[in-house]
């Protein structure tokens, strides 16, 4: 019986539907990514965060306890990380420093992230002069180096911890705004957003219900990658005396203060430096693994 193909149009179109009968059920295909890398990075980061939270109990001695007689001692069984010029225990200060550095990093990253994301998504969705204004503001933030903006701001509002967080937020939101604006722009062209708009959803509803979840993955990747950068920015601020005010230690201020003793007491700077490197390593691995897991390697910067 000759196959009856009177009209290619109808036959082919319908056949396609018929043949691919299987509903596109996501088969249980394990994504080909090494899970342990994500696990390892996550555990290292959790360990560091826990050591920061439980610093008061973990620290062998009070971080501010001064003992001038025991100044500049090399790492020993008594002081695992050695002592600083005032005889304070570097290990205790590193643990409390972790508390301060991570606190600043997480707050600043979160604030910058949320602010940047909100600005990015809204400007992508509304477009027009709002978008223009936001992009100009982002240009300004990019054009002015973070340290200089920080100096002027701290000159105005003074150098305490909350101001350091505000300053870092104000100098880091633009990256989030730009990347997420691009994501939101491409998403808003997609059908499901058009459909939502047709269904009469309010702009806020669309932004929150549809655009936000869509950019969530990029947002999380940016968060993880930024943690290291922000701790280093805090260290640069400490170098200029604008970072965390003494005597509370932060990794950044410890690395910066220890630089005068690199010759005879290298452990003052190197120990917090190693902890910082470990944190950044874990955060970056988390970001990479997360990125490979969740979506194609889009351009992140």
């Amino acid at each position: 019986m000759a196959t009856d193909l009177t009209s290619p149009l109808s036959a082919t179109a319908e056949t396609n539907v018929a043949i691919t009968l299987t509903p596109p059920v996501a088969r249980r295909s394990r994504p080909y990514v090494r899970h342990w890398r994500l696990m390892l990075a996550a555990t290292v980061l959790v360990l560091i965060v826990l050591s920061a939270i439980f610093a008061p109990w973990l620290a062998p001695v009070d971080p501010d306890a001064m003992d001038l007689a025991a100044a500049l001692q090399a790492p020993s069984h008594l002081h695992w990380f050695g002592t600083d010029p005032l005889g304070r225990d570097v290990l205790s200060r590193t643990l409390f420093g972790a508390r301060m550095s991570l606190f600043i990093a997480f707050c600043a990253v979160f604030l910058a992230g949320v602010a940047g994301a909100a600005i990015g998504i809204l400007s992508a969705y509304f477009g027009g002069w709002i978008d223009g204004m936001v992009m100009r503001a982002a240009d300004i933030q990019y054009a002015l180096p973070p340290v200089i903006l920080a100096m002027v701001l701290i000159g105005i509002i003074g150098p305490n911890t909350s101001n350091v967080i505000i300053v870092i937020t104000l100098t880091n939101w633009a990256r989030f705004a730009r990347v997420l604006r691009a994501e939101a722009l491409s998403l808003s062209q997609r059908d499901f957003v058009l459909l939502a708009r047709l269904a009469g959803a309010s702009p806020w509803r669309i932004a929150l219900r549809h655009l936000l979840p869509g950019v969530r993955d990029t947002f999380l990747v940016l968060l993880t990658l930024d943690i290291g950068l922000i701790i280093i920015l805090e260290s640069a601020l400490s170098f200029l005396g604008l970072g965390v005010q003494p005597p509370t230690p932060s990794w950044g201020s410890m690395i910066s203060d220890g630089r005068a003793y690199l010759e005879n007491a290298w452990w003052i700077s190197v120990m917090p430096g190693l902890m910082l490197m470990l944190t950044v390593l874990a955060a970056n691995q988390l970001g990479d693994a997360f990125r490979e897991l969740r979506y194609s390697a889009r351009e992140v910067e």
């Binding site: 180096p145 100096m151 701001l153 630089r259 950044v280």
Partner: protein, 306 residues
């Protein structure tokens, strides 16, 4: 294409104007130079006279108008501190800063991009290993920390290189290493990610189907497409390096932009701060326009539009 560029230039000028207003107001909030540059024994009359001479006693809008008028003519007023035109101080420092930044950027590109390409092509092999360590180490500690280690090692202990100062290539090597490493780390990771994405695309398969040698597929077809985001990233790094390398300039006693801005903010030398910020913004805008042109040249879709 021309329309595209005109629109970009217009928005750039808007950015410049907004920046001028922002820095003009913010720097005046930091403090009153009369209290710094005049001795404490000076009477209020002396200080009033001082402000009047520097034009700080007029109401803000008038000062800003005068500032803009000067801006157009390239006259940023005289430095409160040095008494010379603020622009001259900025230009003295611009040379060393540009040398350092361009060299650091070049080093970052020359090291970061090839490392990124290699770790994309030989994914999973030793080279990706090295790249991961290189990039993590590069972004895991503040640049001044590495700088001091390197000075101790290469200059003080081995005596190969000068410890600080602005001079020939021997003076440039360590600062570029310290600064460049940080950007190279970012570039390497970005290049690898983008190149992997591009290598997975359809036209790369077609190139291979055409029998194009793998070398040409990667360096010819794939790299050009992967370059676009890298160029943007490099431009953003450039902006940060110009003014942000403060700690490196301090450690290497390099008369750069960053340390001058820090100094003039500390001294409340408003005119120098304003001149520095405007010049660095102009540079930033020029770099971005250059990136746009490069983009348009690289990507015909922008040149001819859809």
């Amino acid at each position: 294409m021309l329309m595209y560029m005109l629109k970009r230039i217009a928005s750039a000028l808007l950015t410049l104007l907004a920046m001028s207003a922002l820095i003009f107001v913010m720097v005046r909030l930091v403090g009153d130079p009369a209290h710094l540059l005049m001795p404490p024994e000076a009477t209020d009359a002396d200080r009033a006279l001082f402000r009047q001479q520097l034009g700080l006693s007029d109401p803000m809008p008038i000062q800003y108008a005068r500032f803009l008028a000067g801006l157009v003519k390239g006259d940023f007023g005289n430095s409160f501190h040095f008494g010379v035109p603020a622009l001259s101080i900025v230009l003295v420092r611009l040379g060393p800063s540009l040398t350092l930044t361009l060299a650091a950027m070049a080093a970052a590109l020359l090291v970061g991009v090839p490392l990124g390409i290699a770790s994309a092509v030989w994914k999973g092999r030793l080279v990706e290993h090295v790249m991961k360590c290189f990039s993590v180490a590069g972004q895991a500690a503040p640049p001044f920390f590495f700088a001091l280690l390197m000075i101790r090692f290469f200059s003080v202990k081995l005596g190969w290189l000068p410890t600080s100062g602005y001079g020939g290539w021997r003076h440039l090597l360590l600062p570029v290493l310290a600064l460049g490493w940080y950007s190279a780390a970012g570039l390497a990771r970005l290049t690898q990610a983008n190149l992997l994405k591009v290598l997975g695309s359809e036209y790369i398969l077609v190139a291979r189907l055409k029998g194009v040698p793998e070398r040409h597929v990667v360096l010819g077809h794939a790299l050009k497409n992967a370059l676009l985001p890298i160029v943007t990233f490099a431009a953003s790094q450039f902006g940060i390096l110009i003014g942000g390398a403060v700690s490196i300039e301090a450690v290497f006693a390099w008369p750069g932009f960053g340390s001058m801005m820090v100094e003039s903010i500390n001294q409340l030398d408003f005119t120098v701060v304003q001149a520095a910020v405007i010049v660095s913004t102009l540079l930033f805008i020029l770099i971005n326009l250059a990136v746009d042109v490069l983009y348009a040249w690289l990507d015909p879709r922008i040149r001819y539009g859809h």
